[in-house]
Symmetry: C2
């Protein structure tokens, strides 16, 4: 495959598609642009949940049971934190800490998140480009019936229980795409939106003006893989959030949300097609490497069809 | 026991004596003033080896096999650090990290080391006062045949192998004793020097002018417990260092080094007494709680004799 493929992605679901792409697109031709709206500082350490999930998934280090963190993780740090009455609402695994501690050391030395992320990827033998959407801080905030909450407080501490009425991306309007992001989009042959939560994981990317503009002026076809499977989200609060926003939990709602940005959609077999964009249907539940490879190939196939 | 006891201490050997004192002196009447010359920053985290060893020892969390760190420690962090090509010459255990991460958070919030240390001690149910010698940074540096080395580079990275020609305590001359240090010495009924390395662990304390002055103007008798056992140090580079400084490895060299500061000494049975100060003899090898209690009681006993 000679096509240059760019995928915009958030957390676990998106990482699965990128893992599928990793099997079929050579590293130098694959770039993942990653949501950083969930990033936050915890216990003085900079945590980048979506970047870390992608790194762990691609390096075969991910904890597939938990859906976050590292496989075979130990928890001595958290036990000691609790014994010292430290903040324990967000769990940092012992091995996982290494990323955050080294990220902080590198940040203090003046390295931007994009360079740090690429360093980590190279250390773990990953050949694709993993690009944070921006080196500038962007923070996803939720207006809820439990007050205004930063993303991790909503997602982890309150287990997505509050009802969301509005979402904002603090810092996005003045954030500049990270080095390589605009170039990757401009020179891509195929652009994909991973099956991540459109409102919480993809919208932060689209809220960065330079990134949105690059997408709007792109040459390549853009295919979204729907995060819905049988009218539900595989994981996370997508369906609950759509309900709270007064939307039907359908691919049409997803297509309407992305609007003219999307040229085509991959949806789960048996689910209703949206009336707008061209669609390919496959089993989008990605539980095995074979599944991930298949969904990646179907998305690429649709993009190729749209190009001709 | 109503006597107020102050003990000046360094690392492992000193911590054992303090653990003995903890058994016989009520917490509110016991203060340990701890060397911070070994403190340094590693991977962006502030590490206080002697304070931490004392905290772990007194809270029954110490790794008695290794002689440092926590019992039952896990090492996932270090493995991940190595996989990311991070600095790995100094090992931070997973549980141990909690102290350093929380210490950094508290320092960033403006809390001094003395307050942070006392917080940790209280969280672990310790009732004595654990006082860093100073809240100001003091760094032990060694002039060696391998160049000028900060303490941990000499001690851990180079395993005490370089020959030492001189020792200096950077920052000591302008360091102020931590809150409570001068008061504890001034109001003590008994002052002890723990069996820590006189040159590397006790001298940094004596190099803080306000602390030295408090000792020189004290009311209470001061008893040193010799770190030598059968003409050797139980652990660490004391004997090697004494050789390099051209000193006989004897209690007399220790007594000469402390000079008029010391009113009496506790030495190991069978070792030659120094000709100067009054001496009590006991088995100073502290392997059991019973040993630690006995050595503590002998030191207190000698101090009481000297007072009358």
């Amino acid at each position: 495959m000679k096509d240059r493929v760019v995928v915009l992605t958030g957390g676990v679901g998106g990482a699965k598609l990128v893992k599928g792409l990793q099997q079929v697109v050579p590293g130098p031709q694959l770039a993942a642009i990653v949501n950083t709206g969930d990033d936050f500082e915890h216990l003085g350490l900079p945590v980048s949940p979506d970047i870390d999930t992608l790194l762990y998934t691609l390096a075969d280090l991910a904890n597939t049971q938990l859906g976050w963190g590292r496989e075979g993780e130990t928890w001595s740090f958290m036990e000691a934190i609790r014994s010292l009455d430290g903040e324990d609402w967000f769990s940092l695994g012992d091995g996982d800490l290494a990323l955050h501690v080294l990220r902080r050391v590198a940040k203090e030395a003046g390295r931007p998140l994009s360079a740090i992320t690429q360093d980590f990827a190279r250390q773990w033998g990953l050949e694709l480009s993993i690009l944070p959407m921006s080196d500038d801080p962007v923070a996803t905030w939720l207006e809820t019936d439990a007050g205004s909450l930063p993303f991790q407080r909503y997602f982890v501490q309150q287990r997505c229980e509050p009802r969301i009425s509005a979402i904002r991306f603090e810092g996005a309007a003045s954030a500049v795409p990270a080095p390589g992001v605009v170039e990757a989009i401009a020179t891509a042959d195929i652009i994909l939106l991973a099956p991540s939560n459109p409102w919480l994981s993809v919208d932060p990317l689209l809220a960065v003006p330079g990134l949105r503009n690059a997408l709007e002026t792109r040459q390549a076809p853009l295919v979204a893989v729907s995060p819905l499977v049988g009218g539900k989200a595989v994981k996370g609060p997508t369906a609950k959030l759509m309900n709270e926003l007064g939307l039907a939990v359908t691919n049409q709602s997803i297509a309407d949300h992305y609007g003219s940005l999307v040229d085509g959609m991959v949806i789960h077999e048996g689910d209703a097609s949206p009336p707008g964009p061209p669609v390919l249907v496959t089993n989008t539940l990605m539980t095995s490497d074979e599944d991930r490879r298949r969904v990646a190939l179907v998305a690429i196939d649709l993009a190729r069809q749209l190009r001709h």
